[in-house]
Symmetry: C2
Subunit: 158 residues, 2 copies
């Protein structure tokens, strides 16, 4: 209890950390987006490509992809439609569950991925990773992983 009404306001130290996280999170996402722009991709596009690239047969069920990328089904559906129009992915029916669909990386999508990935990694390094020490990174992971876990579990309700 800090003040009259019982609200525990943030201390200066807490404020600073919180704002830093917030700022980095937004500035970084903008910067990465900008760095992807020359390739005609958005962060969302890229994330889809990464997920598909890393998957068995370069394919994922729409639902799983939605979960993995933290998007709503609807949003993902639109997103995939756009990427389909751009030739990066295609939809394929699912044998085992005829309601289901796979999003599948096309040849062109895979090529794009191989071409863009190095630039993206460079961008992540330049604007984040390489600005931190190994200890920083360890500490960061140690701090944030539990938070992520908490948030994932809290997700969907509360």
């Amino acid at each position: 209890m800090d003040t009259e009404n019982g609200t525990r306001w943030l201390s200066d130290e807490e404020q600073r950390a919180w704002r830093a996280h917030l700022d980095v999170s937004r500035l970084l996402s903008h910067q990465l987006e900008r760095d992807l722009q020359p390739f005609g991709l958005t962060n969302n596009d890229y994330e889809i490509l990464v997920n598909l690239s890393e998957s068995e047969d370069h394919r994922m069920r729409m639902s799983d992809l939605a979960t993995a990328t933290l998007q709503s089904k609807s949003r993902l559906s639109h997103q995939i439609t756009r990427m389909e129009n751009a030739g990066l992915v295609r939809r394929e029916n699912c044998e085992s569950d005829r309601r289901g669909l796979y999003a599948v990386l096309t040849e062109q999508g895979w090529d794009t991925m191989r071409q863009v990935a190095p630039h993206h990694v460079a961008s992540v390094r330049k604007h984040f990773i390489d600005l931190l020490t190994t200890d920083d990174l360890k500490a960061l992971y140690g701090s944030l992983a539990p938070v992520a876990k908490h948030l994932r579990s809290t997700r969907g309700r509360v």
Copy 2:
């Protein structure tokens, strides 16, 4: 140089830290948004309110507000229009520069802020701050503040 083409891919440790940051950043923003929903506010709305609340005379020039909240002028303009319709802020002309406008907190906006802030802080605590130790927070700030600084300086070009 790690591989054939000279790309320095991320090590496992780097990957983990990077993904953790990414995940927290998005999950948290969703969670905070959800916690604001009962009050009819979005994260963006709230951030505007915070900025205005903390400013001299509860007012800020549009440009400054745009910079402070990392939004484009266009986006901020729309945002303020919406908040104006909701009765949270109003626009006022600027004497010294007749091109300029102030966004000003209304009484209702200020009341809203006072009512919502405690809940928002509680939410930030519950989903972030209170999951971290004091040392975590110090380290976080130490790591991220320079990154934020870098990103702010890089911003607008490169």
